[in-house]
């Protein structure tokens, strides 16, 4: 067999779809997000924003408010620096442009329709469809809002601009909780999609 032909036949299978830095930051982010969410629920329970809505303590992290706060304020560094590195690498390597753009509302709606009808192909996992592009951009923005609203709650006196942007200390908690709920929603959809297209899990573990 012609060696060049052989190489061409093999190359798409060996091609790295998710570079190592994407995989590492993805899993570190997953760990940080889960630690933040579970400990955050415990903190929420100490004084629920929405009267009567309490998160079952059994599914929270930290054991008590003090423990949950320690987890929350430790995991935040992982979330923050990992997120910063991820964004910087995305910009430096040009990945953000090539993977997530262009994306338009029309394309998102079209692909969403196709996805719901079961027509959307994942034959080429190196390319994101419009729904994926939207979902991943959305979750990046959502985590940014989580960090900013969290910062407004933690340091409402030291960051007056951020505090006002979030509608004051009390409302920053509503923003923080809402952004958390959206992240939880994303995680559920994300996990369902991964279970429907298991290959995407492999690309996020071994890169191809």
């Amino acid at each position: 067999m012609n060696p060049t032909h052989e190489a061409r036949r093999v190359s798409p299978r060996l091609r790295t779809i998710q570079p190592a830095w994407v995989r590492i930051t993805h899993w570190l982010n997953a760990l940080a997000a889960i630690l933040m969410m579970l400990s955050g629920w415990r903190i929420y329970d100490a004084s629920p924003v929405f009267k009567g809505f309490v998160i079952p303590p059994g599914i929270t992290l930290g054991g008590w408010l003090g423990g949950a706060l320690q987890w929350h304020f430790a995991a935040m560094w992982l979330l923050f620096f990992n997120g910063l590195f991820y964004l910087a690498m995305n910009v430096v390597t040009g990945r953000i442009k090539s993977k997530f753009f262009p994306v338009s509302p029309r394309a998102i709606l079209h692909d969403l329709g196709e996805a719901l009808k079961g027509h959307l192909s994942h034959a080429d996992p190196s390319k994101y469809n419009a729904v994926q592009k939207f979902a991943y951009l959305f979750v990046m923005l959502d985590i940014a809002v989580l960090i900013l609203s969290g910062l407004a709650i933690w340091k409402s006196v030291q960051f007056p601009l951020l505090r006002e942007l979030m509608g004051g200390y009390d409302f920053a908690r509503v923003v923080h909780f809402s952004a958390m709920s959206l992240l939880a929603g994303f995680i559920v959809v994300h996990l369902v999609m991964v279970s429907l297209v298991p290959r995407s899990l492999l690309t996020m573990i071994r890169g191809r």
């Binding site: 320690q70 079961g118 996992p125 419009a130 009390d170 908690r173 429907l196 297209v197 492999l202």
Partner: protein, 258 residues
């Protein structure tokens, strides 16, 4: 993305089959996969008790101390907490302590003497009338509790920096500590002690500080969380040795800045 032929099952079969076939050829990888799943399961089970692990606890405490340092950097001595109008005061202002409202300590003001100790030039005790004669200051600020709720209150007293000046405190020392009538104890960093909104307060909402809010005096700092604001203060000391605090020693962050 171009649509493919309709397929009832939404699992991407073709790609799955490719992967499954390859995996079947490699029993060691299958075993590895199995072990990963088991490890994941174990990690989930351990989730309940992971906080109790001693090394995890030590690690989290260390990060918390690191966060004290970071908060020290973030603290701007000239940054003022927002102030509010009389109409915005939370009424009734919530009572909060590690005990019930009926157990709040009753301090007899007539023979009360505030003790001052540590790195100060003058350790003479202070009677309440002497304290009331200090320069006056008042504020309507937001009290933010570590639990998340907040309430706006009006406190009156004297700038704490004034008091520290009068007792000849060594303001290059690291900490100011407090001992309270309810066995509470707390300590703060010197920059916050000298902040212009840090008041040694004797009144709440224009009235003598009631027992439930900390009679005879409460240190009010709108730049710190509620638990950092000690009530029923009996003794104030200046030190370079980390004094901790009632909640801090149980795991709350020491700086507790807002």
């Amino acid at each position: 993305m171009k649509p493919v032929k309709p397929n009832r099952v939404s699992v991407d079969r073709e790609s799955l089959i490719i992967d499954v076939r390859r995996e079947l050829d490699m029993p060691s990888r299958r075993l590895f996969g199995k072990r990963i799943v088991t490890l994941g399961g174990l990690a989930m089970l351990a989730g309940c008790s992971i906080s109790d692990d001693k090394s995890v606890e030590t690690f989290l405490s260390r990060v918390s101390r690191l966060n004290d340092t970071v908060q020290g950097w973030l603290f701007d001595p000239n940054r003022l907490a927002p102030t509010y109008t009389e109409a915005q005061i939370t009424r009734p202002f919530p009572f909060n302590a590690f005990y019930g409202i009926d157990d709040a300590p009753v301090v007899d003001g007539s023979d009360f003497r505030l003790k001052v100790s540590g790195l100060v030039q003058n350790t003479k005790t202070w009677t309440l009338p002497e304290l009331y004669a200090l320069p006056k200051a008042e504020q309507i600020t937001r009290h933010i509790c570590v639990e998340g709720w907040s309430a706006i209150g009006r406190w009156g007293g004297t700038p704490f920096s004034e008091f520290l000046k009068r007792v000849g405190a060594d303001t290059s020392a690291k900490y100011v500590g407090f001992k309270c009538a309810d066995d509470y104890y707390e300590s703060i960093d010197m920059p916050t002690a000298l902040h212009s909104q840090t008041l040694l307060t004797f009144t709440f909402d224009g009235q003598q500080l009631p027992t439930k809010y900390g009679y005879p005096m409460k240190l009010r700092m709108p730049t710190k969380l509620g638990y950092k604001n000690p009530k029923h203060i009996m003794e104030i000391f200046v030190t370079n040795k980390f004094p901790g605090g009632y909640w801090v020693d149980q795991g709350y962050n020491w700086f507790g800045g807002s």
